[in-house]
Amino acid sequence: MRVTTTAVLLATVTLLAACDDKPTPTPASSPSVSAAPSGGARALTSGALPHAAAAPVALAGDAAEGQRLVEQYECSRCHQGTGQPAPKLALDCVGCHQQILAGKFPASPAKLAEWKPHVAYYQETPSLEALGRRLEPAYLVAFLQRPEDVRPHLVPSMPRLPLSAEQATHVAAYLTRGERPKAQRLDGADPAHGRALLENKSCGSCHEFSGVAPLTARPKPGVGSEEQQRAIRLAPDLRHTRDRWSPGALVEWLLEPERVKPGTLMPSHSLSPAEARDLAAYLLTTPLEPPRLKALPVRLPVLSRRVRYAEVVEQVIGVTCRHCHGDADLTLGDGGPGNTGGFGFTPRRMDLSTYERTNAGLLNAQGERESVFAKLPDGTPRLVASLIARQREEAGQVDPQVRGMPLGLPALSAEQVQLVESWVAQGRPR
């Protein structure tokens, strides 16, 4: 049963933490930075061929402040390549899951076997290495404030963090480290030949490319070597390329990904410079159909049958919520980001580990205790509102007032929300 599993896991973590040796920091090379997007990339959506970088728009972020913020927001709990030391195992969301999958986590083989299927989908995130040679600073600033789902076969997404616009600018300055790709003109490049290359080189065996005529090769998630599957999970939908990359960066990337970002899973295709330019031209300029967003699930009427707490735990609370709204006593004081704080969130003290604690509410913006079942002005209980907010986020409707839950994970189904809502409406029977 999941409930006891968590208790055992947490106890193990508690034990582990007692002898966790500190990793040595790897200081980031962090000169003071005035990152500048090369311009042009955004205008490409219209279909015009990109020209040389326009006058760079100064992005006046303070890299030193950015470094401090990356530490404060604990980006290294999910990402490599932040220039910060790896966190302690007990805090390392992705690293701990990787250890479990690799069989290195100190637990019994039986436990490991039981956990593995549950952590499989949360074992990688893109490394932030060499971001300055890849993504446009302006894109980064926008993405950090309002992350979008870039990788169709990667289950977790970048969580909506409480970063202000100004903070995002500092973080972008730090992460790009003042590195700028060479400017590049794509005059005379042949997008049609680029499309043909995309087919010939089987780029579609890893990448989705939504909004254009389907590629013949298709990613087959769950098939092939472990490395092939990881590559599929980490491969972005190529429709976003034009928002993210300048022509100069893109050509260099296509020519030799490994040189731009050592260790990347994107293979080199031994392209000639002309081929790389043709591909870049297609990626950056081919017309796109409007994005197909997930439909907002309907809100189902409350159930007339009895719903018990155990069922809500089994279907919802015990699945993902307790990983972030956990019991601090079991983990040397860290109850997860949704309880004792983390990822830059102030502690909301919302503990979903037991029935009684679920009833004990959370701290509101004024620092006062409030019930998670308290009704918002439209009559929706806060808990339910946060579940619906996640469904809305996936449908492209971000509500600045309500953060979607589960944070950075797929929204619940209409039936799961209905179950929670019915339970609350019935007076939340134990």
Partner: protein, 231 residues
């Protein structure tokens, strides 16, 4: 993501952690100490696991089983200091709530060796009173470290409501929580209903009993007879 090497054996880790958790002594033996033969079955500190089990049993309403799990793993639980160890604090809290909900008398026969039963069975009125007072004290200590946690406050109030001299205080706590719908358990609402009844607040009593029944589901017996049955 690569991690620096860590000490692999969980046994070693457990011993180190045990001392850190209990704060009893840095000697590995302190994990078992002189607590009897039960320890021989374990190669590492089993108490965090025993306490987790006890908590689950309490949540499932198995009061005697929960108390027995605590007492078996910590026969001296009454005298241990919760301040230094969250495991002890959790153990004391679990035992205290189980005691309160069984009126200070736990029938531990067949569950706990005779030598460890002490006065927990509450055979005399004085023993029961002493047990309830210990429980209230233990929950007050927990509450002191978690001042803003309504689930802890609810349990403290539930215990205080059983002590004649502290019923006023209990009602104060519960009324405050009820205003914000933060009473964390049906037992908490049952205590409030009873306190309101004793104070002659009949509508208040009915309202609290109603909330108790909604939260208790099939276990609504603990909320007293429904209003209709009484009139």
């Amino acid at each position: 993501m690569t991690h620096p090497k860590r000490i692999p054996g969980s046994f070693l880790a457990a011993l180190t952690a045990c001392a850190a958790l209990t704060g009893l002594s840095s000697s590995a033996l302190a994990c078992g100490g002189d607590w009897g033969p039960a320890m021989l079955e374990y190669e590492q500190d089993h108490r965090p696991f025993a306490v987790s089990l006890a908590e689950q049993q309490l949540e499932d309403g198995k009061l005697v089983a929960a108390a027995a799990s605590v007492i078996r793993s910590m026969p001296h639980v009454r005298t241990l200091s919760a301040k230094k160890s969250t495991v002890v604090a959790r153990a004391q809290r679990t035992l205290a709530v189980a005691l309160v909900r069984s009126g200070g008398a736990l029938s531990l026969k067949g569950q706990v060796p005779v030598y460890a039963r002490g006065k927990w069975e509450g055979k005399s009125q004085a023993d029961r009173q002493a047990n309830l007072e210990w429980a209230a004290g233990a929950l007050r200590a927990v509450s002191a470290t978690k001042a803003d946690d309504p689930s802890v406050k609810t349990e403290l109030a539930e215990a205080l409501a059983r002590l004649e001299s502290h019923r006023q205080e209990a009602r104060g706590i519960l009324e405050e929580l009820a205003k914000k719908d933060l009473i964390a358990s049906p037992e908490g609402y049952a205590a409030l209903a009873e306190l309101r009844r004793a104070a002659g607040d009949e509508p208040g009593q009915r309202a609290a009993a109603e909330r108790c029944r909604a939260m208790a589901g099939e276990g609504a017996g603990l909320c007293g007879a429904p209003a209709s049955a009484k009139s």
